[in-house]
């Protein structure tokens, strides 16, 4: 079935006219109809619009458009509900945006469309990207396709689940503290966070402006490289985007990793790490060595401070970014006698508990008398964390770690204890603080139940090519990426 294909496979068949974009899109829509009642990866999707885009892609191909010019021509792709798609709803998994419809496309979305992709659907997420389980969505939770009593991860839970369940060919998500890599690990697909500044944030509703990045979820590493090339690049609309040339990431997938050096941080392989996850990562490290990679122990000494640092900085930035949701220019509104009352009531009614928790925490750490002790101090620890990585990258080409300490946990298991939820991000958070790139890919499964385990590779700033080269070589020497969940429709 065309919905089960990768980008590479589908575009090859489209080019050979073995399948039409219409048929591929219909197959995705059929799969959504079959399984999304259970999985709930989508908040909404516009089937008629998707098919109209597909028909336009088929016309274009009939008129000579090629995949050399438009690498995603005819490929159905869905996006996280935090990215603006012109004419489509934008809710960020929250009630506070009401019936908001985007007046423009995010740059990353514009680039997908220019590459010929069929962009449709609003994928479920933790509200305003705050969460690690997609349990914080105002539109209901998303279930892990491998075990529907478990979470898919978050905040890009819908983006990961939709790929794992073959509802679409690929998706876009966002990653501020691990929100692409962690759900990719828990759902058994590939998820990449680019170096900060690699992909424009124009049209991405901001959570933490110095940490957010948009990135792809795909079924394999080659597709990930294809997507990354499409969405990357400097953009006038985002003054934090970097004018670094965009290489052909697929050309980096040479298959040869002999002599490359990879570091295994000793601080990551400690207590709290599930024994099955440890075993899978150890086996992956051995596999890398058999491919000619040298793996050596390294130290990232400030690892233990990363969670505290992140949970000061991200909420602080969020408290500023979410001040705009005030019921005046857009979104839902609760009336008040004066503007102050209107703001307080609108925000009190419109934000969910996790968002309120983080805004208030962020307000506190920025407030007079506490700003130096918390926010500035956390920014200094952030420097130490970044320096740990830059020092390590003088010796190694990439760093390998487990993506998460455990496989997917049960729905409701951590939702009562916010701190427990925060601590589960321990392996992914430092990457955002340091601004480096990271990717998660499948490296095995737990025994019973069968749940995916993710291997994380971290690369130096703008080191995506090296990171993808190693990821690809590992992937191609295993068949984890070809194992799919059985979803009883």
């Amino acid at each position: 079935m065309p919905n089960q294909l990768t980008i590479s496979e589908l575009t090859a068949r489209l080019a050979r006219r073995e399948v039409s974009a219409h048929a591929a899109t219909q197959a995705c829509l059929d799969q959504i109809a079959r399984v999304d009642g259970q999985i709930h990866a989508f908040i909404s999707h516009d089937a008629a619009d998707a098919l109209a885009q597909a028909d336009a892609a088929d016309s274009a191909m009939a008129n000579g458009a090629t995949h050399a010019q438009q690498p995603l021509l005819g490929v159905p792709i869905a996006v996280k509900d935090v990215l603006a798609v012109k004419g489509q709803p934008l809710n960020c998994g929250s009630k506070i945006l009401g019936h908001f419809v985007s007046p423009y496309d995010a740059t990353a979305v514009e680039k997908l469309k220019a590459a010929g992709a069929i962009v449709f659907g609003r994928l479920n997420m933790d509200e305003f990207a705050m969460g690690s389980s997609t349990e914080n969505s105002a539109f209901g939770l998303t279930r892990n396709p491998w075990d529907t009593t478990r979470i898919p991860g978050g905040s890009s839970g819908g983006s990961a689940a939709a790929v794992a369940a073959d509802e679409v060919i690929a998706t876009l998500g966002t990653d501020t503290g691990g929100s692409i890599r962690q759900p990719a690990a828990l759902c058994g697909c590939v998820g990449l966070k680019p170096t900060y500044g690699r992909v424009s944030r124009y049209g991405l509703v901001a959570f933490a402006s110095s940490l957010d990045q948009i990135g792809p979820f795909t079924k394999d590493v080659r597709d990930c490289a294809t997507m990354l090339k499409v969405i990357s690049g400097h953009d006038q609309g985002d003054s934090t985007s970097v004018a670094q040339p965009v290489p052909d990431y697929t050309a980096a997938l040479t298959g040869n990793v002999k002599g490359l050096r990879v570091g295994l941080p000793k601080e990551y392989m400690i207590g709290g790490l599930d024994p099955e996850v440890k075993a899978a990562v150890d086996a992956a490290v051995n596999q890398l060595q058999s491919l000619g990679v040298t793996v050596e122990e390294i130290s990232l000494p400030h690892t233990e401070y990363a969670a505290a640092t992140y949970y000061i900085i991200a909420p602080a930035e969020a408290s500023a970014n979410l001040a705009r949701f005030d019921g005046i220019r857009y979104g839902a509104r609760v009336e008040g006698a004066d503007p102050l009352e209107l703001y307080r009531k609108t925000r009190g009614a419109g934000f969910g508990p996790e968002v309120k928790r983080r805004i208030i925490l962020g307000t506190y750490v920025l407030s007079s008398g506490y700003h130096d002790a918390y926010y500035v101090r956390a920014q200094k620890v952030r420097t130490l964390i970044r320096q740990d990585f830059l020092k390590a990258f003088e010796r190694v080409d990439a760093i390998v770690t487990p993506t998460t300490p455990t496989a997917a946990f049960k729905i409701g298991e951590k939702s009562d204890d916010p701190l427990q939820m925060y601590l589960s991000d321990v392996f992914t958070i430092s990457c955002n603080l340091a601004g480096i790139c990271g990717v998660s890919l499948p490296c095995g499964f737990t025994q019973s139940p069968k749940l995916p385990i993710g291997l994380q590779l971290l690369g130096k700033p703008f080191g995506e090519e090296m990171m993808l080269r190693i990821a690809h070589a590992y992937e191609q020497s295993t068949n984890w990426h070809q194992t799919k969940p059985v979803i009883r429709g």
């Binding site: 503007p339 925000r347 208030i360 307000t363 620890v381």
Partner: protein, 95 residues
Amino acid sequence: MAASDFNVKYMAHLARIQLSAEEETKLGDQLSHILSFMEQLKTLDVSRVEPTAHAGPTVNVTRADETRPSLPHDEALRNAPKKANGLFVVPKIVE
């Protein structure tokens, strides 16, 4: 500056978020607990460390002072909860 200093009522006021009494109590407890966890950062010597506000080197970005197309008026007002005469409508601010 201990976690017990945490005044959830005042913080909610600064954040312009109305909380129910129940929310106040629950959030107050949760955030005190979380802030205790943050205390560990005080054990580090950061006296000779510069803060990092952005992961990469940042330069101020400007553009030429030229008029460019921007979001049309009606598009900008399309999502407004209350509008009139091409304006956003708000409760009275000044007596």
